[in-house]
């Protein structure tokens, strides 16, 4: 039956007319279709032909991801090729949340993993935090630095842990730990500030940056150039395959000038003292050893130090992070005397024969203020040689008065005091050598004549870093020559193995009118260790090489006029005891090492600092430590190395024994320890 019935008035349809009408309308429909298709084709041609390149680029941008490939950081060696900083494979356990499943499955997995590896609550909290922040298909580190045992235990049961993977990466490692920690430095996480300062493209893929020491100062050499992988990734960022690879370049390997054996000896010799040892090769300015005690474990900083350990280090009253060699500012005390003597001779205010009478104290004309010699009883008549050898303060008070602060400033600044040495290490301090101009500027006061006296014996306003003292003695050793201190000896291209040596930078030569002046002062410095009555005779007399040196005991706490010093430093509280200083170079006739030792509150330079320097020089010049640090009780068997059982005589030493003066070769029995010597040790 038909629902639509034809009504009567519609019954008479004009069939032909309807068909013709339809054909016309069909024609219109065809035109409509053609118009539509033309519209489509025009648009498609625009997209696919005219704008093709634009869309091709955009399609590539969609799918291509540039993944940086971090360069391998350069290694750090000492001068003998001993590794000081290396890259060690470290095992990191990663979990891919997507493969684990939901939260319950994740909790179960973590519980199971705890039977196999150690997981602290911190590990788990940090992990869960990271899981929330990263895409689910990406592996999230759960623990790093797995031990081999943990890796082995995991491997046995690995089928139980879907979505868990152990990956090997490289982490910085410092095999010597705290040894040379201030010098080598350490790497740590890049801070945003550091990234802002640097060219970001150089840090692509890197998470660590040198934070201190050589790691910081040579960051640009060590870092290398990042490479890149071009990865095809899908819309969710999941990498699918590698399309292209751009090679980076690993960082350069560095050879430092330091000698790890000397460094170790210096650190051991320092014992429990806080302070610094700096040893330079005066012939080229290379740093042989640079110790700052106490040290710290640089490994703590790698991969980010935890807050607790960092706070402990920061709050430690001994300030282990403080690099005393470059940042420590100390009064140099008597160690300035050789340079003072040189200035006095050069400016012609004294002759070597000029003598002063020391009665233990002196006053300036028109003032009642007493300027004391460290030796209460006085030295009697003292010429230049005796003044240096016995460290007579009265002699140098007078010398200072004769020179005046202006000439002193000129001379001592010439030796490098008061401005940073420019060593290739970070955070170096300038120190201070006062002048009239400085006092007016900094203190808004005029210079007082009495201050010249204090300045003349390295007290008062004078502040120097151990590095500056080492440079000063090295320059004396080189008779005014010398080089800028530096620790970088050579760099090596890790691929071509080509080694580039660092050319030492010569310092402007200190030219004296008469070269004989050097001989006079160096002879006086030799007398310190070689002659009876020399403040460091106990340390120098048995050495198989000649040492030119100067002791120093820098006063930490000022004395009031009515106060008398306790005779014995040992009786004072530690924080009030003098700093013990010692500067030296050896062999005196052909210097190969210059040392500055600074032991905070060590008391006496001669008894505390000098033996440390001696051991350093022994190790460097002889290859082992000959000196036995027991004052004046050196057993005869230890004098000549040939008599030490089981120790062969190094050829170097044999040669040296022949070269050195007969005094050094003389058996020590001929030089008995006397009470006078003991007293003379009590030097300032």
């Amino acid at each position: 039956m038909a629902l639509f019935a034809r009504r009567r008035r519609d019954a008479l349809k004009n069939v032909h007319a309807e068909r013709d009408s339809f054909l016309r309308r069909a024609g219109v429909a065809v035109l409509f279709c053609i118009a539509g298709v033309v519209l489509l084709i025009v648009r498609l041609a625009d997209l696919q032909i005219v704008e093709h390149e634009h869309y091709q680029t955009r399609a590539d941008e969609n799918r291509m991801r540039v993944t940086p490939v971090a360069p391998v950081r350069g290694l750090i060696y000492d001068r003998n090729g001993t590794l000081l900083a290396q890259n060690q494979p470290a095992f990191v356990l990663e979990v891919t949340p997507e493969q684990v499943g939901n939260r319950t499955a994740m909790d179960e997995l973590l519980a199971k993993l705890q039977h196999v590896i150690t997981l602290t609550d911190t590990d788990i909290t940090r992990f869960k935090d990271r899981v929330r922040k990263s895409p689910r298909y990406r592996g999230v580190p759960l623990r790093s630095n797995l031990t081999m045992e943990e890796v082995a235990r995991y491997e046995i049961d690995r089928h139980q842990f879907p979505g868990v993977e152990i990956n090997a990466g490289l982490t910085r490692n410092y095999p010597f730990g705290a040894t040379a920690s201030h010098l080598v430095g350490y790497v740590g996480g890049i801070s945003e500030e550091e990234l802002k300062q640097a060219n970001e493209s150089q840090f692509l893929g890197l998470t660590q940056i040198g934070k201190n020491g050589v790691e910081k100062s040579q960051e640009d050499l060590l870092r290398g150039e990042p490479g890149a992988k071009i990865i095809e990734a899908n819309a969710y960022g999941r990498p699918l395959r590698e399309l292209d690879y751009r090679r980076g370049y690993p960082g350069r390997n560095l050879y430092l000038s330091i000698d790890t054996k000397v460094q170790t000896v210096a650190e051991q010799a320092m014992g429990n003292f806080q302070g610094s040892v700096v040893a330079l090769d005066p012939r080229n300015g290379e740093i042989i050893a640079m110790v700052s005690k106490p040290g710290f474990d640089p490994q703590l900083f790698v991969g980010g130090i935890d807050t607790a350990s960092y706070q402990t280090l920061l709050n430690d009253p001994t300030r282990p992070l403080f690099n005393r060699s470059l940042q420590g500012l100390y009064p140099p005390g008597s160690t300035v005397k050789p340079a003072m003597a040189l200035a006095g001779l050069e400016y012609g205010v004294v002759t070597p024969e000029h003598s002063e009478y020391c009665k233990g104290e002196m006053t300036l004309p028109g003032s009642s203020r007493k300027y004391r010699c460290w030796k209460r009883t006085g030295h009697g008549a003292v010429n230049m040689l005796e003044g240096v050898k016995r460290s007579c303060d009265i002699y140098f008070y007078n010398l200072a008065t004769l020179l005046g602060i202006d000439r002193m400033h000129e001379a001592m600044t010439g030796f490098g005091l008061g401005h940073a040495t420019g060593v290739d290490l970070p955070l170096e301090k300038d120190g201070l050598y006062p002048s009239r101009e400085w006092k007016r500027r900094a203190r808004k006061e005029n210079w007082y004549p009495g201050e010249t006296l204090n300045t003349g014996i390295g007290q008062g306003y004078v502040l120097a870093t151990p590095m500056q003292l080492a440079q000063m003695v090295a320059r004396i050793a080189m008779r005014g020559g010398g080089y800028k201190p530096h620790v970088l000896h050579a760099t090596e291209d890790p691929i071509t193995r080509k080694i580039t040596e660092i050319v030492p930078e010569a310092l402007p030569k200190i030219d004296l009118k008469d070269n004989g002046t050097w001989d006079v002062v160096i002879a006086a410095m030799e007398a310190v260790t070689q002659e009876q009555g020399g403040t460091a005779y106990a340390v120098g007399r048995n050495a198989p090489y000649r040492i030119a040196a100067k002791t120093g005991s820098a006063q930490v706490a000022g004395l009031r006029q009515d106060e008398t010093r306790p005779q014995k430093q040992e009786e004072m509280p530690l924080r009030l005891r003098d700093h013990a200083l010692f500067i030296a170079f050896a062999p005196a006739e052909a210097p190969r090492i210059a040392v500055a030792v600074m032991a905070e509150h060590g008391g006496h330079g001669a008894s505390i600092a000098a033996p440390i320097a001696r051991q350093v020089m022994d190790q460097y010049l002889l290859g082992y430590v000959l000196y036995n640090n027991e004052k004046a009780e050196v057993p005869s068997s230890r004098v000549t190395p040939a008599l030490v059982p089981g120790l062969p005589v190094p050829p170097e030493l044999q040669q040296m024994l022949q070269q050195t003066a007969p005094a050094a070769a003389t058996p020590p029995a001929a030089v008995p320890a006397t009470p006078a010597q003991q007293e003379d040790d009590d030097d300032r």
């Binding site: 309807e18 054909l23 279709c33 648009r43 498609l44 955009r58 799918r63």
Partner: protein, 381 residues
């Protein structure tokens, strides 16, 4: 002149060659030309489906099964004479209206729209039925009226069109509603709807546009705004269209080659194997491939119009013409939205997009066209 060219031929050709495959098929009421063209497009669809679905052989098999089912339905429908459909049309129409109401009340929600009706065994979209019912019913209705239609006839026809369209739009499924309106509208147009009414209707529509705009859902409005400037919101509403244009544009003249498209494979292109499959096709086969596909579609439309022109009565003409034009509108809307000419409405690319009900209902329509073409009465001139 067109009328002369398209002058329907009556009876068998005078010089009949040996009976071949075409004749054999025609004896089974299958039009070989239409069948070949449909198979060609469906074949292309299956190939590109494999690429668009991320090399899923399961998807391809399932699509092939649906096309096969659709072809069977087409063949079955072709067997019945058009007069039957004319008679049945109103009942089918009424039944479908009932189903649509039922869908609105008890349907399954998928992707935020209630389009599906679940009968336990079969789960389908009743709106697909309307794609057949609408042109058939309007053609059958107009067949009984004097043409060009009177105002009353026009009003009745519009009612026939708008009731189901409104029901479908409420689901909401704007794409299908548009196609239903197009199907009924083309029947009315081909039936001789006076131009003045059409122009008048357009004017009214233009005037009512702001009111319509108010009634659109937020996402629908967003789609229209996005069309004007897809880059303004590249991660939100504009993402689909931007990625689609990137896919098509990056294909260039010759395309990246089958299976080499990156936009779909790497999942940048959303709905790659359904509504946006044309973007995948264009990316992999380029402008040349696009021209080929357009030619095939145009040939199908042309063949259908040819069938309409040769049809024997008003019902058949209007039915065939309406189906032909609806098919074209299908293609045009899908391609238009994929290339950024039209707002994004859920219209699949016929026979190529993945989707069962769509392929089956579409082929059912072609079944009716073949029925029109092959059931010929001997008429007195």
């Amino acid at each position: 002149m067109i009328a002369d060219v398209l002058q329907p031929m009556r009876g068998r050709r005078p010089n009949k060659p040996e009976p071949g495959l075409a004749d054999w098929l025609e004896s089974w009421h299958i039009d070989i030309w239409l069948l070949m063209l449909l198979l060609a497009v469906a074949g292309i669809g299956i190939f590109i489906q494999y690429s668009a679905s991320g090399h899923s052989i399961d998807g391809v098999i399932s699509q092939a099964q649906r096309v096969a089912l659709g072809l069977v339905v087409m063949a079955v429908i072709a067997q019945a004479p058009p007069d039957l459909y004319r008679t049945v049309a109103p009942w089918l129409y009424a039944f479908t209206i009932l189903l649509l109401v039922a869908t609105l009340l008890l349907g399954d929600a998928a992707k935020g729209a209630t389009r599906w009706l679940d009968f336990g065994v079969v789960r389908f979209q009743p709106s697909e039925f309307m794609k057949l019912a609408m042109p058939t019913t309007v053609a059958a209705f107009l067949h009984t009226r004097r043409l060009p239609p009177t105002l009353l006839t026009i009003a009745a026809t519009l009612l026939l069109i708008l009731v189901p369209a409104a029901l479908i739009a409420r689901q909401p499924d704007l794409g299908t509603a548009l196609l239903i309106v197009a199907a009924g509208g083309f029947a009315l147009f081909l039936g001789g709807l006076q131009w003045r009414w059409m122009i008048g209707a357009l004017a009214v529509l233009g005037a009512a546009a702001p009111i319509l705009w108010e009634h659109l859902k937020d996402y629908q409005r967003q789609r229209i705004l996005t069309l004007l400037d897809p880059e303004s919101d590249p991660l939100g509403a504009g993402y689909h269209i931007t990625q689609s244009m990137i896919a098509i544009g990056s294909g260039g003249t010759f395309g990246k080659g089958w299976l080499n498209g990156t936009q779909a494979k790497l999942e940048f292109l959303p709905e790659a194997h359904t509504d946006f499959i044309f973007a995948v096709y264009s990316e992999e086969l380029g402008f040349i491939g696009v021209l080929l596909l357009l030619t095939l579609y145009l040939a199908i439309v042309g063949r259908c119009l040819w069938i309409a022109v040769r049809a024997q009565d008003t019902f058949q003409r209007l039915l065939a013409g309406s189906l032909a034009m609806t098919f074209f509108i299908y293609v045009f809307i899908n391609m238009g939205m994929v290339i950024g000419l039209l707002p994004v409405v859920g219209v699949p690319l016929p026979l190529v997009s993945y989707g069962g009900t769509s392929a089956v209902s579409l082929l059912a329509c072609f079944g009716m066209l073949m029925s029109v073409h092959t059931h010929r009465k001997l008429l007195a001139n």
